[in-house]
């Protein structure tokens, strides 16, 4: 077991940031913490990286206890916080050199591990970190978090505010790091990234909604789900919400995802209702639930 989180709770005043959280992450696993802003993801990262003490519960990382062996953990983990936290006034190369030195290593010693990533920013190695674009900052931060060859990598929302192309590239980098045997715990508010993890924990308001593989999580979705479309989306949402038998109504890209309260739901009933309410070009088709559907269903309860 690479990360063991055992009934951890943490509150700030009246706010329960984490409420009795337990997760086990296997050696070499790519594990995702999926949840919105304020879910408690950052608090959990800070506890696991020994920057914050839990109120209750215990945890270990790479075999070390987060309280008793905190110094050992700091040598074994790489941490990329959500906010850019490198030295803005140092150059790209100076930052990397600095982090290698405090961990008692050199860039040359572990260059293999970061080569794929660092090579993309190497042309700018004399530029100050503060002057890099968002995507380049992200790559430098990842290089710095990896330079001491950590066993476990903690990435707190590495892709927030990043465009879909750069996000995709970032996840490809993570997969390659995983292949090198590094355990990765990564958080994201983007539900589509969940599918790229081995297992995920859906988390909201400090509580875990579910832990499983992305595939199993969507298979657990409790109801048949339908794509519904019509000529006027705003009117459609209004009328679906007003329908007496609706269970959930959520816009989902081109269509609205609709579920019904009734067991023997017949889409023709819904079509008749929408027609009567003045909607045209009605489209109703069975579709598959996504991680986001599951998240919303669980969060509703």
């Amino acid at each position: 077991m690479s990360i063991r989180i055992d009934h951890i709770s943490k509150s700030y005043g009246k706010v329960n940031a984490l409420d009795n959280i337990s997760i086990d992450v296997d050696q070499g696993e790519l594990f995702g913490l999926i949840g919105p802003d304020g879910a408690g993801k950052t608090t959990l990262f800070r506890i696991l990286t020994t920057l914050l003490l839990p109120d209750l519960g215990s945890a270990s990382v790479a075999g070390y206890d987060i309280v008793a062996d905190f110094k050992s953990i700091r040598k074994q983990v790489g941490y990329m916080p959500g906010r850019f936290s490198l030295y803005q006034d140092l150059t790209v190369e100076e930052n990397l050199h600095f982090f290698a030195t405090i961990f008692g290593t050199t860039i040359a010693e572990n260059y293999d591990l970061i080569k794929d990533i660092y090579i993309q920013i190497e042309p700018f190695k004399n530029r100050r970190a503060g002057k890099l674009s968002g995507g380049m900052k992200q790559k430098l931060a990842l290089s710095c978090a990896l330079i001491h060859k950590p066993k476990v990598l903690f990435l707190d929302e590495p892709t927030t505010g990043v465009d879909p192309v750069s996000r995709k590239e970032f996840w490809e980098m993570l997969k390659r790091l995983q292949d090198k045997g590094i355990t990765i715990l990564v958080s994201t508010p983007y539900m589509d990234e969940a599918a790229l993890c081995d297992r995920i924990a859906l988390i909201q308001d400090g509580k875990i909604l579910e832990i499983d593989t992305p595939k199993a999580i969507v298979e657990h979705y409790p109801k048949p789900i339908f794509d519904v479309g019509a000529h006027n989306t705003y009117l459609l949402i209004e009328k679906l919400n007003a329908y007496a038998h609706k269970h959930s109504v959520f816009p989902f890209g081109e269509y609205i995802h609709y579920t019904d309260q009734r067991d023997g739901f017949d889409p023709l009933d819904l079509r008749e209702y929408l027609k009567k309410e003045g909607l045209r070009n009605i489209h109703i088709e069975r579709t598959k639930a996504t991680i986001e559907d599951t998240f919303m269903e669980l969060a509703k309860q």
Binding site: P36, D37, P164, F250
Partner: protein, 242 residues
């Protein structure tokens, strides 16, 4: 009935030294339309938006926003539009009510009108319990919904939304879009940027910027069929990676 055009852009360009951040972009946006303005980080979206809201002078080309020229009538533009972004929306150290009063005042609304609008907004969003709480103490999703309502206080013709839903939970994100639909249905034009590609599908039309130019502009449906893709995410990846 002739459709009213509220944003007209032709050959709009902005250069910083040798670097052309926005390169001859042209498009029109209709009244009441939800217009998605997409692009990778660094493609020039923010620079283009700054010109449209009248805080950055173009290098060349023309643009007319809400009937006003972006070179000579920037003050009129600022009065005719609303603006909110993910990075700055409301003052954390003011209460919900104080923020509404502050922004109402900035937009030149009368005292009576501000108090009337304030009550309406608080009622619509169900904020009675937190009206006197500091905005900083509220969850991000609430803040963003309040910020959007505040950007509509002065009944602007156009609202510019710069990544309004980044990091917001999926349910609140959808409630936010329902508010957008409602505003558009009332005739307010919505100009929005986002990195959530499912949100691109909620737009009437979408433009995709790559390296300072608009590479595609159409309805999500047409873009998908044109690129042989089943999602906007795929369209985006095909365009921005080529």
């Amino acid at each position: 009935m002739k459709e009213e055009t509220v944003i007209k852009v032709a050959g709009l360009t902005k250069a910083f030294g040798d670097f052309t951040a926005v390169n001859k972009i042209s498009f029109h946006v209709r009244k009441g339309e939800i217009f998605g303005f997409l692009g990778a980080n660094g493609a020039g979206k923010t620079t283009a938006m700054k010109m449209l809201i009248g805080i950055s002078a173009p290098s060349s080309g023309s643009a007319n926003v809400a009937g006003f020229d972006v070179y000579t009538q920037t003050e009129n533009i600022k009065k005719s539009i609303g603006y909110m972004s993910q990075k700055f929306a409301l003052y954390d150290d003011l209460t919900v009510k104080e923020n509404i009063r502050f922004f109402g005042g900035i937009y030149g609304l009368s005292k009576d009108r501000i108090s009337q609008k304030s009550n309406l907004l608080i009622e619509e969003l169900g904020l009675e319990k937190v009206a006197n709480s500091l905005v900083g103490s509220l969850p991000l999703g609430w803040k963003q919904k309040i910020a959007f309502s505040v950007s509509l206080l002065h009944d602007p013709k156009i609202v510019f939304l710069d990544e309004p839903t980044g990091g917001v939970d999926p349910i609140t994100r959808r409630q936010f879009w329902e508010m957008i639909y409602k505003a558009a249905n009332n005739g307010t034009t919505i100009f929005v940027t986002t990195h959530y590609m499912d949100e691109a599908e909620y737009c009437d039309r979408v433009s995709i910027m790559v390296d300072g130019t608009i590479e595609a502009l159409d309805t999500p449906k047409n873009l998908k069929s044109h690129f042989g893709s089943d999602s906007m995410n795929d369209v985006f990846l095909k365009l921005a990676r080529s």
